[in-house]
């Protein structure tokens, strides 16, 4: 449904009411996006119900900069409203003016405003850092970052200690905002997928799949079955690599030197396998609109062997790690995200699944080859602490291995079919990629990244991009991060950060 704001009387609450009504009746809030539209700006709320996508749109006439906000009734929308204010200068009513989140520039001059037209131009001078939110006597603010100690992405954590009260954590991701959504404008779809791969570089495959999923939906193109299997292979190896990375961060924080060496070696082997399959350790260049760029560098049988070897070694070390009391004790009861909190913010990925939010778009809205592969049902969990999140990651790795084996089998069969087709001369077209024409239209694409669901809203005009809006799981889950520190911020920091496994690039755009 589209609501239009006719005049300045934006007591009109039809838009938030409509979205809240859908949420109250079982729809899950996916994201809130601002795009240009004929005559002004469109604010689009995207929701999901089972396998279906639902939308509510609000048209803001040109010149209007305030709109009825959602966050009071749909808390998960809060951070989206903050990002829309930062980038588009549109302010939600019904709440106090939110803090800057992805870009702190608040003067009208040089406002990036994706869709404002014209090429991106540099902002000058550098945006100043906004002051901490709490001020007053006895308030201490301890900043950590944005240059971290150790090899981490740039982010600033402010620990605010208001007198006797419990310290409060604020996360500031805007230091590395790169302005990627603006960059998408006018790109070709082939360039667009290369940029999508770099939105959240540790989840390149998932982003490329979500972007291509949107493009393929606009074009009405199905990908060839073999391409679906290749996409699954790369997506699941990406998931395993990310979960191993999170595990490495955990054991590093706990000072487990041998476990650190072991898990970082496993991760390196996964990265090398990805490199062997695609030429890129991050699977870049594999996913293209309409399918995949070509045959994987390893045959199905070789892949199967490599996967079996990896799984055996990783399982043994995971078992040992979970039987190491000094390690497990650090995680138990640490950084608890209650099921209520997870539901309030519709948390996704392993963070959500450790707290009773079981949505997984591989199952609910299957894409690539997921629809016909048998997917293991993971044990439902809801304890919500760092240990539970680690359990979820391990469960997901076993699920990934299960999927990898089936996809490798599929590839093996494709190779056999292909040889047969070549022999009989019946082979037609590419087994890897279907053509995507210069189409126009708008669609949503999605994929289950290692961090959770990533969604792309893509509009095309004759094959080139009008706009792309990105919702990464890292951004979506960031809202709950500060709330997972109920007591002692400093002692548990490394574990809580590792157990969330968020990418700052993905959160800041």
């Amino acid at each position: 449904m589209v609501s239009a704001l006719e005049d300045d009387a934006f007591a009109d609450n039809a838009f938030p009411a409509a979205v809240a009504d859908r949420v109250e009746h079982g729809a899950r809030f996916v994201g809130l996006f601002a795009t240009s539209a004929p005559g002004g700006t469109r604010i689009l709320a995207v929701l999901a119900r089972g396998h279906a996508i639902e939308q509510e749109a609000l048209l803001l006439p040109a010149g209007r900069t305030r709109y009825p906000g959602l966050a009071q009734r749909v808390p998960a929308a809060e951070w989206y409203e903050r990002a829309i204010l930062d980038l588009h200068g549109l302010e939600p009513t019904g709440r106090s003016r939110p803090d800057p989140l992805v870009f702190p520039l608040r003067s009208g001059a040089g406002w990036p405003r994706p869709t404002a037209g014209g090429p991106p131009r540099p902002t000058d001078p550098d945006p100043p850092s906004p002051p901490p939110s709490l001020q007053g006597e006895g308030v201490f603010t301890i900043p950590y970052g944005p240059v971290r100690s150790g090899v981490f992405e740039a982010v600033e954590y402010l620990v605010e200690t208001p007198g006797e009260d419990i310290p409060h954590l604020r996360t500031r991701v805007f230091y590395k905002h790169r302005g990627i959504e603006k960059r998408f404008e006018d790109m070709s779809i082939d360039d667009g997928v290369l940029l999508a791969e770099r939105y959240e570089g540790v989840a390149s495959v998932a982003h490329a799949m979500a972007f291509c999923g949107a493009v393929e939906r606009v074009a009405g193109v199905e990908i060839p079955p073999a391409a679906g299997a290749v996409r699954v292979v790369h997506a699941e190896l990406e998931r395993i690599a990310n979960h191993l990375d999170s595990t490495v961060r955990h054991v590093e924080g706990a000072g487990q030197a041998v476990a650190f060496a072991r898990f970082s070696l496993h991760k390196e082997r996964v990265m090398r396998l990805r490199g062997q399959l695609s030429g890129s350790r991050f699977g870049r260049g594999v996913i293209v609109p309409g399918g995949v760029s070509g045959a994987p560098g390893l045959g199905g049988a070789e892949l199967l062997q490599a996967v079996d070897r990896l799984e055996k070694a990783i399982r043994a070390d995971c078992r040992l790690l979970l039987a190491t009391p000094s390690f497990v004790d650090r995680l138990r009861g640490t950084g608890v995200v209650s099921p209520e909190l997870a539901a309030r913010y519709t948390l996704v990925g392993p963070v959500g699944r450790a707290s009773g939010q079981h949505e997984d778009v591989r199952v609910s809205r299957p894409y690539a080859a997921y629809g016909h592969l048998g997917q293991p049902l993971a044990e439902p969990r809801s304890d919500g602490d760092a240990l539970t999140r680690l359990h979820v990651r391990f469960d997901e790795m076993w699920g990934s291995f299960h999927l990898l084996r089936q996809a490798a089998d599929d590839l093996d069969r494709t190779e056999a079919d292909r040889t047969e087709a070549d022999r009989t001369g019946r082979g037609t077209g590419s087994p890897w990629r279907n053509a995507v024409g210069p189409v126009s239209g708008e669609a949503l694409g999605w994929a289950e990244a290692p961090q959770g669901e990533v969604a792309y809203l893509v509009e095309l005009h004759e094959g080139s991009l009008v706009h792309a809006r990105v919702r990464s799981a890292s951004f979506h889950n960031l809202a709950a991060f500060a709330l997972a520190f109920p007591h002692d911020i400093l002692t548990d920091f490394a574990f809580i950060e590792a157990s969330f496994g968020l990418s700052i690039a993905g959160a800041s755009g």
Binding site: P122, E153, Y175, R183, R198, E268, G275
Partner: protein, 299 residues
């Protein structure tokens, strides 16, 4: 003590690089090579036009690839495989930005072996450990993974006397990643200024060299070059751990020869930096920098 037995069970996994080359497999997209012998035909022109980052151009009738822009997407190699092809080699870091502009196939095995042995000598000759301060100035996150990989048992940079430090006051090398966001300009500059002399700056990855796919924009400076003076460029999107290691070892050479240079330079391109002289005790490795060698290969 189960973790201890676990630690021993794999034997030696550490790579022998730089003492010995470590192949990554023939299909790895380490870098893009241009066949120098070919003129510029239709297909080549088309490939040049389709490059997503404008990394290809024609200079003096020869195709030139700017590795500071190439994101290794492979499009040119698909459109004109007779001129462009991937190569698994990874040691293409350069001193100075202009040396990333490469024509023809200058990297023969001999050159690589020569660089490697020179680098091994350098780490030895420095006779002390080298400390690296990493700063993310707007990466996509993948560069941090590859830098962190340098401490895994395969690369294990500690064995070369290379360590990461949290304090800029103890750092010799600034290893910067990312497109140079406006938000990180000041923190990056501050870190650089807090480092003692001599200091060397590495721009890790095409994002840091040119902005890569992101390029310049309202929030990106299109590389870190106008924020801090870059000495060593590591191509790749992201660079592989081997590529990073090669860049770090080049930087170690600069740390070791910095006493000869007098200054640590100023913001801007560094292609014009004074070169170490052949009389330096480190011998032939410092007599000619690899960047020069690449240019010599074209002649």
């Amino acid at each position: 003590m189960p973790w201890i037995t676990r630690g021993l069970s794999e034997g030696i996994v550490t790579t022998r690089y730089p003492r010995r080359p470590d192949g990554y497999g023939p299909d790895f997209h380490g870098t893009l090579l241009v066949d120098p012998g070919r003129g510029v035909d239709r297909a080549t022109e088309r490939a040049i036009g389709e490059c997503p980052t404008g990394a290809l151009s024609v200079v003096d009738g020869q195709v030139e690839v700017d590795r500071g822009r190439c994101v290794l997407c492979g499009r040119c190699a698909t459109l004109q495989p007779e001129v462009f092809r991937f190569d698994p080699s990874f040691d293409h870091s350069t001193i100075g930005r202009s040396a990333l502009h490469v024509r023809g196939g200058a990297e023969d095995e001999e050159t690589l072996a020569w660089i490697r042995s020179g680098l091994a000598r350098r780490t030895k000759a420095l006779r002390r450990s080298v400390h690296i301060r990493h700063v993310d100035a707007g990466s996509d996150g993948s560069e941090e993974w590859e830098i962190a990989a340098l401490t895994n048992p395969v690369y294990d940079v500690g064995r070369l006397g290379i360590f990461f430090t949290a304090s800029p006051h103890h750092a010799d090398i600034l290893l910067a990643t990312g497109v140079g966001t406006v938000g990180m300009a000041t923190p990056l500059r501050t870190t650089y200024e807090a480092m003692p002399h001599p200091k060397v700056v590495i721009a890790a990855g095409v994002d840091a060299a040119s902005g890569g796919m992101v390029g310049p924009g309202y929030a990106s400076r299109g590389g870190i070059g106008d924020v801090v003076p870059v000495d060593v460029y590591v191509p790749g999107s992201p660079p592989s751990p081997f590529g990073l290691l090669h860049g770090i070892l080049l930087a170690v050479g600069l740390v070791g020869t910095a006493g000869n240079r007098g200054t640590t330079g100023r913001p801007g391109g560094r292609a014009d930096r004074p070169r170490p002289q052949g009389t330096h005790p480190q011998g032939p490795a410092s007599a000619v920098e690899p960047g020069d060698r690449t240019e010599a290969g074209e002649a």
